[in-house]
């Protein structure tokens, strides 16, 4: 397999030409406009003005929120998606393995890291929870990835987020390489 | 050079003036 796509960036970084990072940055964030956006009125078909009024709450793709976000002149403010708020953080710290990160994500770690670009007093807790979740789920992912030889793994990866699925794939490649080496 | 020529001829030259350059250094992962 000599086709190696441009890998996603690590942590808060994005790789400009990475398909994964482009899809990650398509994820929606709850935002609120902090000024009027004249002539862009497409949010409400009914409204007669062609402006997006200040205070409009809208789901905005991450790439647009990052592009508009400006510490000095605040055009939009970004709220945390539900899964990164206190309530869910408590669930994750209780037992991260119970959560279906595919359904809740599927870019739980990527989006969580990108959220740190937006100022919020909760950033340290978000970063900590994302990290602890990964650590808490790592062992089970690696165990299942190392013990699933020549069998259907769809059930094993069903509840994994995108990053965890690539970790699982890496484990599977290592396992298959080792089996082939053992057979000479 | 081959890749830059290709990107320019297929897409970049049809883009607005201030968007006709893509730094291929970005294709090198950190």
């Amino acid at each position: 397999q000599s086709y190696l796509p441009v890998p996603p960036g690590v942590g808060m970084e994005e790789n400009f030409l990475s398909l994964d990072d482009i899809l990650l940055s398509q994820e929606k964030l709850p935002t609120r406009t902090e000024c009027v956006f004249p002539r862009l009125g497409f949010v409400e078909k009914t409204s007669d003005t062609r402006d997006i009024p200040e205070g409009t709450k809208m789901e905005m793709p991450l790439w647009l929120a990052k592009g508009l976000y400006d510490n000095k002149r605040r055009l939009v403010s970004v709220e945390q998606p539900k899964i990164y708020r206190q309530g869910w953080r408590t669930v994750f710290s209780a037992d991260p393995n119970v959560v279906d990160l595919h359904k809740m994500g599927p870019y739980y770690y990527g989006l969580g890291s990108q959220l740190l670009h937006f100022d919020s007093p909760e950033n340290p807790e978000i970063a900590q929870t994302v990290l602890q979740t990964y650590i808490g789920r790592f062992r089970r992912i690696m165990d299942s990835s190392q013990n699933a030889y020549n069998e259907d793994t769809s059930a094993l990866v069903e509840r994994l987020d995108v990053l965890e699925r690539s970790l699982f794939r890496t484990g599977q490649i290592g396992l298959n390489d080792f089996q082939r080496w053992e057979k000479g | 050079a081959n890749t830059e020529t290709y990107l320019k001829s297929v897409a970049l030259k049809h883009m607005p003036p201030n968007l006709q350059a893509v730094d291929l250094g970005k294709s090198v992962q950190k």
């Binding site: 086709y3 796509p5 | 890749t3 290709y6 990107l7 297929v10 897409a11 607005p16 968007l19 893509v22």
Partner: protein, 145 residues
């Protein structure tokens, strides 16, 4: 919403994640370039109005459209670049003559890129291993013994 066509190009490649080369989506590229032209012209108009009539309230909208322009540019660049990575790997898997079915999926400029790549690789291989050169595309797997 802007940039929907652009992200569709990326999704199309992501669905072919096993390295297959989908048909070149010329129509998709053209639609994204048309959207960019429209966004740029609207921004030109607003920038002129903002300058000539002091309409600084238009700046957020200008910034919004510029974000969309950058997004479209990124998606097109990534779409084309990822296809080149797939085409490059085909040289190592099929050798220098590609099957017709695959060539049908490439646009003329990709075929040109592929020919240039082959020349660069051949030049490199001639520079290896003394006079007769070395074909590095052989023996990609270790021998059985």
């Amino acid at each position: 919403m802007f940039c929907e066509k652009a992200i569709e190009l990326i999704r199309e490649l992501q669905r072919a994640s096993d390295g297959q080369l989908p048909a070149f989506n010329e129509d998709g590229i053209r639609q994204v370039l048309e959207e960019m032209k429209a966004l740029y012209e609207q921004n030109q108009t607003d920038v002129n109005e903002a300058k000539s009539e002091g309409r600084s309230d238009l700046i957020p909208t200008i910034k919004f459209r510029h974000c969309c322009l950058l997004r479209n540019q990124r998606c097109i660049a990534a779409y084309l670049y990822d296809r080149l990575l797939r085409i490059r790997s085909l040289r190592w898997e099929y050798g220098s003559v590609l099957p017709t079915s695959i060539r049908f999926h490439m646009c003329a400029e990709e075929l040109e890129w592929f020919n240039q790549y082959k020349k660069s690789l051949a030049t490199y291989m001639r520079s290896l291993g003394g006079d007769e050169g070395l074909d590095v595309t052989q023996d990609m797997q270790p021998p059985k013994s």
